[in-house]
Symmetry: C3
Subunit: 323 residues, 3 copies
Amino acid sequence: MVWTKKDLLGLEDLSKEEIELLLTTAESFKEVSTREIKKVPALRGKTVVNLFYEPSTRTRVSFEIAAKRLSADVINIMAETSSVKKGETLIDTGTNIQALKTDIIVVRHNCSGAAAMLARHLDISVVNAGDGWHEHPTQALLDILTLKERLGRIKGLNVVIVGDIAHSRVARSNIWGLTKLGAQVTLCAPSMLIPPAIEKLGVRVIDDLGTALKCADAVNVLRMQFERDEKSAFPSRMEYFRNFGITKERLSKAKKDIVVMHPGPLNRGVEISSDIADGGNSVILEQVTNGIAARMAVLFLIAQARDISAGKTNEFKEQENIN
Amino acid sequence: MVWTKKDLLGLEDLSKEEIELLLTTAESFKEVSTREIKKVPALRGKTVVNLFYEPSTRTRVSFEIAAKRLSADVINIMAETSSVKKGETLIDTGTNIQALKTDIIVVRHNCSGAAAMLARHLDISVVNAGDGWHEHPTQALLDILTLKERLGRIKGLNVVIVGDIAHSRVARSNIWGLTKLGAQVTLCAPSMLIPPAIEKLGVRVIDDLGTALKCADAVNVLRMQFERDEKSAFPSRMEYFRNFGITKERLSKAKKDIVVMHPGPLNRGVEISSDIADGGNSVILEQVTNGIAARMAVLFLIAQARDISAGKTNEFKEQENIN
Amino acid sequence: MVWTKKDLLGLEDLSKEEIELLLTTAESFKEVSTREIKKVPALRGKTVVNLFYEPSTRTRVSFEIAAKRLSADVINIMAETSSVKKGETLIDTGTNIQALKTDIIVVRHNCSGAAAMLARHLDISVVNAGDGWHEHPTQALLDILTLKERLGRIKGLNVVIVGDIAHSRVARSNIWGLTKLGAQVTLCAPSMLIPPAIEKLGVRVIDDLGTALKCADAVNVLRMQFERDEKSAFPSRMEYFRNFGITKERLSKAKKDIVVMHPGPLNRGVEISSDIADGGNSVILEQVTNGIAARMAVLFLIAQARDISAGKTNEFKEQENIN
């Protein structure tokens, strides 16, 4: 299996084999971050641009560290302070970044499809770091990587995703990735936060959290995005916590070693209680650690595919890349 | 010809030979950005500070990439979030940056003369990245580099600059550079946007765009800066487009291979129509690409002049610099 | 003497010997910033995170340059645009940064004790870059380094600190550092800006500036932070300048070679007159230069202590580090 795609736009577009290649490549990169000198020369002299139209310190920093550990040069563009303000179109911004002879744009945008639109118009690579309610593929990759690390497999797992499914690109990417790898996905949320006809994606919907958790191997707890302007769309924080919060009491009725995931940042006492977030079932910080490896894998495979398709001899990389 | 100036403040201060040296050095740097490893060690261990008092993603990113491809360390200071807010003077900010043993300050400031004032007070180098309505020398260098690349020469060319000349540092730097190299410059704009007595700089002023374009080899289309507070100073967007917008129809009466330039970001449908911006006459993206090479040349020559004047032996550079 | 502490939280926690080790290490790093290639490989492959909850260009840039001259990768997080806004706790932010396999967090926070709280919860190192009114240890280190450089010693010196002592972490760190090294510290300010019972720290309080300066070897002039909301707490700017401003006239009654320090940014004509700030007694810019060396020393010793405690063989460093 060799990676040949120019871009990573979502897990929907990938085959099972491509997802597995990303995961095994990520596993091999984990070791780099444990070295004294946490750096490999694989992307030396390449330029990675973080183009963020939504503020996101977590994802931006994770990609920035991943790129720097691959020895790439990283340029951060926060769209609030950029020429976007001056009315430039997304495509013009993209073609300009391409004209700077950069290699990979990592884009976060509030519109679903923004990354795909950029990718269609550009010869350089585009990595989707979250587009509207559509996909956030590297988040799902790190979630799946963490799950696989903890439980040894994905196939046959029963994974519950709890929270605002309707507005969650994290949920959507997880659904695509997990079902392709053979897991059973169950969604659980107040009915107004479940998108219509979501069962077509091959998932189950269960309203009651207790029932949903009963035979779950893992639960992925989505962040309630109270900073968005959809406030009226779901019950109050207290009410949400009472019905859908992941608490010790609730988990006492689930499998003993159920894996608890959360993409962060945490709303402690809203979607998850502190004892669970910090407890032995939680893999929340392992997710963060795995985010570096997952993003290194994405940047590495995409850069490699670009070099191969450009017919560049790659002796330097063959000898040195991961080692 | 050897570069000896500590600073680059504007093209007005440069001789024809100095501008030509910048251009040929830029040409030699273009190749670096086409390599697999887009990096030369010329400025390794040097510190370049981007000091921006006006938001400008394009220019900042271009300088940042140029400096990084020369292996310099780059520090970005956006003055909105800086100690400037705390009432520090520009000179104090500059002397402080110098005391950090940095090498080059790239400064963008809303006051004409700000870069020159800094340069007078500092021993380290200052590169003007745009000062008020005064000069934006690296923009003019990349414009001229692109023109030369497309048409093979500058001498004898007929270049029309269209737009808000009065408030344009891009226009002013282009006028200095082009006339020194022997081009004929024609300015075209609503009369209220032409500064008084501008003909003294050796340029022609023609009110009517059709007449101006008739024997033009190139047209440099300035951005209408509607985000500035001078709104009342010129006609409406629609009216501007009707009279001064560069469109297919208008260019049909110009030379067939007229070169169309724009410093970006584009106001599509205001100063330029989309078919022209994206068409075969446009060199807009080549300008962006050449911006990297032009800025690498400026940073390289200035750093080299500093090292020579400091009497430092430079064996490392002599052997490796561009190669 | 070997550095063994994981963190640098304040000078209060350090022994005289530890402060001296920081100073001599800083002295040895000064030379790096005078080289043509201002870089040593000591922290190559390490990740330093600047986590700033208060805007501070000066301190952030100084740490960023120090880390880059040690070859570390630097990540800047400005908390205004970060997930902090999304309600994440400081500890969660810290554990997340740690999970990214970073090495050192440099933290600036408006709450006293924030750095210490982070340090307690994390295995990675924390450097306090200013916490509330508590401590700003690297500022005091660079002050003391500069004083020692100018006067040859610290022991027995008579150092006056003038200004808003009550709200100054700079004052507090200087008091700890200077008294531990055997200097006599005198505080001078309007009485409302002197914290109660401050004499317990082993300092003198003198209301009248003339008296205080009479036998001073050095005066450290604090910045009046008019941008804070404590406006009513002290007299007007004019009144402050008249009574506590450091002027030529006032210094004419002090020792001829009295050393004048200021942490910057300057309020010229408020706490200090321009002729003094720019005159021969002032070491203000030397302080800025020494800030790089002091911060290189802190980052270096802390990283080294981490590697030693991790039992990592360090041949690479032993051979190359400072040289």
